[in-house]
């Protein structure tokens, strides 16, 4: 063949940095490993079954929908469906029956993601769509969490685990004196959804995400600081009715949501200033729902509401142009 005809011609740049969608998705999955290990330790078999079911179901639903409904090459290897599966599982009680998890996975992938056209086109965080769908459809099963029982949690039927209150439900009932210690909250020795219990494990994941430049600090920090300041002010005003801001930051799905759910690329703003506004919005809504709403936890709703506002934020909040404007 003639050398001249065998040359590639394309516009610059002629090299690529090597980043890819799958690198980022698998990176987030790796960052979730510490939280998963803590969950296995405290919830045992239940954590494994719920997570495995959710991941397999999400990947399978994505494959089937892409292959047979959208009639295109499935992209399940990019890791995004598996990530949705893990995040959905992390937002569920570890004693949830398999059939409910399947419904949640179908809602997450089918309604939350594929109905918009798949990865990159969805408005709402798919895992949260699945979780909120289940929360509204199965309020009883979704709000009874097994009590933590380290290393002793391998009953044959995991759904029969003994259940108990969470930090947030105690706070919602005004039982501020029965809260677990700060150490327990940091490590994860407390009731709750299976991936949200350990602050230390989640912060470890955060450090990994920052190190690998998968996310920036803006959204998580904005969320956490806002919740801390807002609940802090309320605590100062009336310590008997409102728990300390440290409890709020360490409890419920706040850290899981701030670090792993709110930072979902597709459904969060693109500019640094936009990210800060979005984070503050999530923090405010979460605090308001927690302190004044009927639900003990508001993180899911707060993120979904701010997801809906993201296109608006992207339209009005612009990057800092070189030379100013």
């Amino acid at each position: 063949m003639n050398m001249e005809n065998s040359l590639y011609i394309s516009p610059s740049p002629h090299i690529h940095g090597g980043d890819s969608i799958s690198r980022n998705m698998y990176g987030v999955l790796i960052a979730l490993i510490p939280a998963f290990l803590v969950s296995l330790y405290f919830f045992g078999l239940g954590a494994l079954i719920v997570t495995a079911t959710s991941v397999v179901a999400c990947v399978l639903f994505e494959y089937l929908i892409q292959k047979f409904l959208m009639k295109k090459e499935p992209t399940i290897c990019d890791g995004s469906a598996a990530l949705t599966g893990v995040l959905l599982a992390f937002n569920l009680p570890s004693n949830l029956p398999v059939w409910i998890i399947l419904i949640g996975a179908l809602a997450a992938i089918g309604i939350g993601k594929m109905s918009f056209g798949g990865l990159g086109n969805n408005i709402f965080n798919p895992a949260l769509v699945g979780r909120v769908f289940l929360l509204i459809s199965f309020p009883a099963q979704m709000t009874t969490w097994p009590v933590v029982d380290a290393l002793n949690a391998f009953p044959m039927t995991y759904t029969d685990a003994e259940t108990g209150a969470t930090v947030l439900s105690l706070m919602n009932e005004g039982a501020l004196t029965e809260l677990p210690s700060y150490t327990d909250m940091l490590i994860g020795c407390k009731g709750g959804s299976l991936g949200e219990i350990s602050a230390v494990a989640l912060l470890l994941g955060f450090a990994f995400l920052l190190w690998k430049k998968i996310i920036t600090w803006h959204i998580p920090v904005a969320v956490i600081v806002t919740v801390f300041v807002f609940t802090g002010i309320m605590h100062l005003v009336n310590p008997a009715a409102y728990a300390s801001p440290v409890v709020h930051v360490l409890s419920g799905g706040l850290l899981l949501g701030a670090i792993f759910m709110a930072t979902d690329y597709v459904t969060s703003p693109m500019t640094k200033n936009g990210m800060l506004i979005y984070g503050v919005g999530i923090g405010l809504l979460t605090s308001i729902i927690r302190l004044f709403g009927s639900y003990p936890e508001g993180m899911s709703f707060a993120i979904l509401i701010m997801n809906a506002l993201t296109p608006l934020i992207n339209t009005y909040v612009k990057p800092n142009y070189f030379g100013g404007k």
Binding site: L7, T216, Y265, T271, F322
Partner: protein, 442 residues
Amino acid sequence: MRTFRIGGIHPPENKLSAGKKITALAVPKQVIIPLSQHIGAPAQAVVKKGDVVKVGTLLAKAGGFVSANIHSSVSGKVNKIDNVIDASGYRRPAVFIDVEGDEWEETIDRSEALVKECNLSQKEIIDKIAAAGVVGMGGATFPTQVKLMPPPGCKAEIVIVNAVECEPYLTADHSLMLEKGEQILVGVTILMKAAGVNRAVIGIENNKPDAIANMQKLAAQYPGVEVMPLKVKYPQGGEKQLIDAVIGKQVKSGALPISVGAIVQNVGTVYAIYEAVQKNKPLFERVVTVTGKSLKNPSNFLVRMGTPMSALIEAAGGMPEDTGKIIGGGPMMGKALVSAEVPVCKGSSGVLLLTKAESVRKPMHDCIRCAKCVSACPMGLNPAFLMKATVYQNWEMAEKENIQDCIECGSCSYTCPAYRPLLDNIRVGKAKVMGIIRARKK
């Protein structure tokens, strides 16, 4: 250590030819000298078929205010004036010269001796630079004399010498600083005189410690000239980025560097200015890096303009079997050449050979709005948004989002995890919007 403030990326440097001595490449049998080797109007040919020319003979006169003279790089006979595909990919007129001997114009000082003294006036210097056909040699090829004639009301305060060479692979400027440091510094003082300023900063990225050390040592004897090491970050060689890094001022959208008192010249250009003013030598040869991972012997050659790229590749060990792409310039902003027969011209800083595997782009996915392009953009733009505006042909929106400020550095496409051709699209949109802005001004 200083650097520019917004965005930027860190591509692998791959400076394979760093530290290689500059060697003069043999004069080829025929040269093809394009009449458009600069931004602006093409030069007008003053020779015709059959004319006998020497090295340094004027071939074509500047065709307008923003234009540059073109000189012969060889001695011999004009074979024809015909169209040829040049490094920009367009078919444009060029002078073909059959080489006979190597006879130089008598006016050119061919000795190696350093000429420090310069007693010319500001205007005489600028006239000499214009006569020698000096243009920006970093790749933009803007005629140098035009930069030295600021519009009324603007006053230069500082000359910034762009010795950043932030493009991966390229080492032409680096080798020039190691071997021609003294000449460059004389060139800087001439430039300062021409611009009427008493301060100059030579900005060098700190991945070239030997060049920094050499220039710092020499600069001690030249009052007002400072060598500033800069933190490595692409695209620091962008004019606006370099000004931000060196003096901490950001040139506004649509404004010229002179609006913040700066005149920026590439270090290769400064060397050409020295040769033009002190040695009466027109710009007809330059240092070109020939490089690539499969190339046997990556090198820095001193090359006569009009030499085909293939001659350089041959001298560096021959074209590797697995060559998939030949790039004129660096991998970030260089242009893919249609063949190895494209002639070297004033803006040719390098020839880069990519392997077939390196040449293939991966298929693109939908945008996942990860905003990595926004973080990477050194102009503070939102590339994903600008691509969308271009795809939907929403020029009003594209202009509002400052698509016209894009410097086409490629950081967005380089960064995109979905392999989206962001810059390809933005370039199209930018050209369209620039046209709209020009039409409105008329």
